[in-house]
Amino acid sequence: MTTFMLTDTTAGKISAQLMQLRHQMGAPAIGMVLTLIVVCEERDQYDSLRAASEAAREHPSRIIVVINRESDEANRLDAELRIGESTPGEVVVLRLYGELTEHADSVVSPLLLPDTPVVAWWPGLAPEVLSKDPVGMLAQRRISDARGSRDGGVESLVTRAKGYAPGDTDLSWARLTPWRSLLAAAFDQPTGKVRKGTVEASPGNPSAPLLAAWLSERLGAPIKVADSNGPGLTAVRLTTADGMLAVCRSDARLATLSRPGQPDRNVALARRQTAELLSEELRRLDSDEIYGAAVKRLARSYKS
């Protein structure tokens, strides 16, 4: 891993330095497939960057981390460049001071890889309307994470729904994929009409109402959210015409699928690391309409 620090610099200098570092490494043309912009705070930087680098193993990318520092200091741009032998792609960590904190897009835009997709990710706090944010406008895929917000995740999903534009997604939705996949597989077999259901999760878990919203959107039945001791999502119970169909998971690893007239079966259903969630997001870069429908339904049914 080669690290290079630039203080009080510009996007042009960063670009030139990146090219020089790559030539020094003897690898001038790495097949990078996208640019990932990570907008976060200093304290989230390490974990977010680690997840992004891990995801870059599947999707070689240029990762640009944007950290807004003190806005009342003098205008300044500091950059840290990393090119590794162990990881494909490149990492640029940008620290912005002064008025520049309002104009991150002016630094990021010249550093984007030409003619390839751009993805923006806010691991913590995210702007109200992702697609209207200056950095968000550079990206065709915008990823927020309701769990990273401080005001309780569910409200932030309501905010997401209000400002939804095609291309938005949320990691609390990606966390649901294994659950949704298992439930969809259960419905591949003949299943009676669902009358009602519940989703159980630890209190305040933003994924739970989202799963309930998706289920009621697709099944046309009322699905409630109930609190449990966690961790995370613990159960989905659906009352069907034939009896109860349930997926229960108490240890965050192994779930039990029970359905009327059939033996209970265990299914691996482990909680996933942020890197895996991010990898899933990067696999398809077109807009996720199913998420859009689910999050809007959640907002409609949410009473604060």
Partner: protein
């Protein structure tokens, strides 16, 4: 879509109609395509949801074999780890071993630990472990197959697998007749309505047209053609599937993908290893039957075929069959084919014995370990463009690739000296190892003189992509369980391939001992002689 049993007086809205249709057939436990299509939780726009196989049992014959341990069992675990195995998925091993379920589970566990691509997770193993069963017995033992049939019935009840069975015959072809006969006798090859039975067979699909035909007679006596999945693991490789993407998703290559621009095509599968412990299988079969008949001719078909109307199995297979039918053998087989047998020598710094000195090989064996043939394709696109196919053991290194070599530029506005070392443009699809694509073209050497030289532009799936790209067997096993056949060759393709190879094998049979080549080299001199017209094999 409406089920005949649905009460027609019920005025239901759309959603309820679907649910009601599903409910009326709820008595059966099986998965049918209609039910899956009516699944309210599935939506074609929901691309995050993976294709998951329906509840089923995979019955594996030959669990003690190398393939099972190194590829199949780990692939099953990897599928589970990616969440692609259905709840209740069960694996039944059948072999001549005095094992209990837990012994087979232990074998599976060890194989998974040693060879799985994805990290070992206790919960995934637990899910898999619950469904592992073992039936001991010989293939000729009626009692053992009765026990198998009973075990399957019991698994249907305890695991809810709905009578869906896939039988994977990872056994030498000489056992196919007896196993298939047993499956027929016990009735497990017959699918009751609403469930499926499939059989998976591995190469070799016979050793000539006649035997391939006989083998097929045996299999089709118990299973319909649509339930037979012939595994050619090359077709499950990402790079091979990428040939289709490269050709049919781009506009860049199609205009030059014909006799107007292509000079010739070279398809190579080289191995650095000898025959290892496969003497019993390999001797009498040889390189051409082992590799050219299946892998290389399939690659040829994918590279040369016209664009299919869609990517469903019938459209894809139709195009492959068309191009295989158009393949023509050279009139002079002596001049346009080469066969060799490796002698002792040095391979990558190791002293190795010759083929005739290998354990279990008769000292007067005439089996070839190197085979190269020149083929032409008689159609408008390819007439006059030779396709050179070669394969061999104990060659310089392990590499499989398809190289499309283009004609030289019709006129070079440079002096002859400047372009002296300029070769032909080439597009190379590297199948393994180091999966990717290379384009070779001329470029100016930096400096004051106008000197033009060959350079390579690489697209690499790269080591990073590799660790997350699934193994061929994962993809193929999943396709079997889902019932998705495009990546499996049809019997007609198998027979067409034998029609191409049989005359060559017959000619070779009259030629006595194959030409020797030192281990670690790139084949016998006759292989170079057959190229002609100023063409040469790529140095790999």
């Amino acid at each position: 879509m409406k089920d005949p049993e649905t009460p027609s007086e019920e005025a239901l809205d759309f959603e309820e109609t679907i649910a009601a249709t599903v409910a009326t057939s709820a008595a059966a436990t099986s998965t049918t395509l209609e039910v899956a299509a009516a699944n309210p939780l599935r939506d074609p726009r929901d691309k995050r949801l993976p294709r998951v196989a329906g509840p089923c049992v995979l019955v594996l014959f030959g669990v003690t074999g190398d393939l099972a341990k190194r590829k199949l069992l780990p692939a099953i675990y990897d599928l589970g780890n990616r969440g692609l195995l259905p709840p209740g998925f069960s694996l039944v091993g059948f072999a001549r071993r005095d094992w209990k379920d837990q012994d087979f589970a232990q074998v599976t566990h060890d194989a998974v630990k040693a060879h799985a691509r994805t990290p070992f997770r206790e919960e995934v193993w637990k899910q898999l472990r619950e469904g592992i069963h073992f039936v001991p017995g010989e293939f000729s033992d009626d009692g053992a197959f009765d026990a198998l049939a009973m075990a399957l019935k019991e698994i249907d009840e305890t695991r809810g697998t709905g009578g869906n069975y896939a039988f994977y015959l990872s056994v030498p072809p000489k056992f196919f007749p007896v196993v298939v006969e047993q499956l027929k006798r016990t009735g497990v090859s017959q699918a009751p309505p609403g469930s499926w039975r499939r059989v998976v067979i591995e190469k070799p699909f016979g050793h000539d047209l006649k035997s391939a035909h006989e083998l097929n007679e045996i299999t089709t006596s118990a299973f319909p053609e649509s339930s037979i999945f012939r595994i050619d693991h090359y077709l499950g490789k990402e790079t091979v599937q990428n040939i289709l993407a490269l050709r049919f998703a781009n506009n860049l290559y199609e205009p030059i993908w014909n006799r107007g621009y292509v000079d010739h095509v070279q398809i190579t599968m080289a191995e650095d290893i000898g025959i290892g412990g496969r003497a019993g299988y390999y001797d009498g079969i040889g390189a051409a039957r082992d590799v050219i008949q299946n892998h290389l001719l399939q690659l040829l078909a994918l590279v040369a075929m016209e664009d299919p109307t869609s990517f469903d199995a019938s459209a894809l297979r139709r195009e492959k069959e068309k191009v295989l039918k158009a393949v023509q053998l050279p009139s002079d087989l002596a001049l346009n084919t080469a066969r060799g047998q490796y002698d002792a020598g040095w391979q990558g710094g190791e002293k190795v014995v010759g083929y005739l000195q290998e354990d279990g090989i008769s000292p007067d064996s005439t089996t070839e370990t190197y085979a190269a043939i020149k083929l032409e394709i008689a159609n408008r696109r390819w007439a006059g463009v030779p396709f050179y196919l070669r394969t061999g053991k104990r060659l310089g290194r392990r590499v499989t690739e398809v190289a499309v070599v283009f004609q030289r530029a019709p006129h070079l506005p440079f002096s002859k000296d400047d372009t002296e070392i300029l070769g032909q443009n080439a597009l190379v699809i590297r199948v393994q190892p180091d999966e990717g694509i290379t384009v070779r073209f001329g470029s100016k050497v930096p400096g004051t003189a106008m000197e033009v030289r060959d350079v390579s532009m690489d697209f690499a799936y790269g080591e990073s992509f590799l660790e997350s790209s699934p193994e061929a067997y994962e993809r193929l096993l999943l396709d079997v369980m889902i019932g998705d056949p495009p990546l499996f060759p049809h019997q007609r393709e198998v027979e067409l391939s034998w029609k191409i190879l049989d005359p060559i094998e017959e000619f070779w049979a009259t030629q006595g001992q194959p030409e020797g080549y030192p281990a670690g080299s790139w084949g016998p001199p006759s292989a170079d002689a057959m190229m002609g017209d100023g063409r040469a094999w790529r140095r790999l």
